[in-house]
């Protein structure tokens, strides 16, 4: 199995550490109800087909990556950096310089 790191390119799966479902990126807001936290921590789908999960490029560039793959064919369909996703979503972090930067630079600043 090979995973494409957005920074390093196609790499052997052994370079990566598996974390879990990409649901971990959708952290409930401060003060969210117990149900939201329960769902965030414990409730997961178990799809036959497309799924998204988090991998860490441990023996590589140290980036967290969201990988989209197919559980029935084992095909790795796409991958993207978690940092770029997060920084765009966090309040107060949309400095103009970041928007102007090329995608790769953007990651470098987060």
């Amino acid at each position: 199995m090979r995973i494409t790191c957005p920074l390093c390119g196609s790499r052997d799966r052994r370079e990566f550490y598996y974390y879990g479902a990409a649901d971990y990126l959708a952290r409930p807001a401060e003060g969210a109800g117990l149900e939201a936290w329960d769902a965030y921590l414990h409730l997961r789908d178990n799809p036959a087909g497309m799924t998204k999960d988090l991998w860490y490029h441990e023996a590589g560039c140290s980036a967290w990556i969201e990988v989209t793959r197919d559980t029935t064919s084992h095909a790795v369909l796409s991958s993207r950096l978690v940092a770029a996703v997060e920084s765009a979503d966090l309040p107060g972090r949309s400095a103009p310089a970041r928007k102007k930067a090329a995608p790769r630079k953007k990651k470098g600043t987060s």
């Binding site: 390093c8 400095a95 310089a97 990651k107 600043t109």
Partner: protein, 178 residues
């Protein structure tokens, strides 16, 4: 300031010679990791530009007159043999001079040596001069930089002896094939 006597990171294990292959010590005198603060990549780029360098793109490096800079991971670069003072306040700077053991593997067949230890296509055709990659040297986290006549291999200082043993073994096996 107290001046301490530096110890050879390879403890006399290098150089290793095997037929036309050579493994030699090449740890830079000064290594500083540079991680631009959020939104300050442009300022870092400008400051490095004044030093005759720049922020390298992923998998790239830049060579100045006396200094050099290597991409070393997401949002990070290693500044070599230069005073990082101009970057103070705009990037997180960490002195890593004593943290790495750096070797240069040269001679015809160096790529065959690495292919026994690295799950990466580092042949000259796919890994041109100046290119950098983070990957594993067998089970060790490593950094590779392509040189004109070979490759530079970086491992954590604590892994120096293991790295030399692995590389020397692979060199012997490649050399034995003639």
């Amino acid at each position: 300031m107290v001046s301490l006597i530096a110890t050879d990171v390879f403890h006399g294990l290098l150089p290793v010679l095997q037929g036309p292959l050579q493994l030699a010590a090449a740890t830079p005198a000064r290594i500083t990791s540079v991680m631009p603060f959020r939104g300050r990549a442009g300022a870092v780029q400008t400051a490095l530009g004044r030093m005759g360098l720049g922020l390298p793109e992923p998998g790239q490096s830049r060579e100045g007159k006396a200094a050099a800079i290597l991409w070393s991971g997401r949002g990070q670069a290693f500044l070599l043999d230069a005073d990082p003072e101009p970057l103070a306040g705009i990037a997180a700077l960490t002195d890593q001079s004593d943290a790495w053991a750096v070797m240069r593997l040269t001679g015809p067949g160096w790529d065959q040596v690495l292919s026994r230890l690295v799950a990466l296509d580092l042949r000259p055709s796919g890994f041109p001069e100046g290119a950098v990659a983070r990957s594993g040297l067998n089970h060790m986290n490593a950094l590779f930089r392509r040189l004109a006549d070979g490759v530079e291999i970086w491992v954590f200082r604590s892994m120096a002896a293991t790295a030399v043993e692995e590389l020397a073994g692979a060199m012997a096996r490649v050399a034995a094939r003639g």
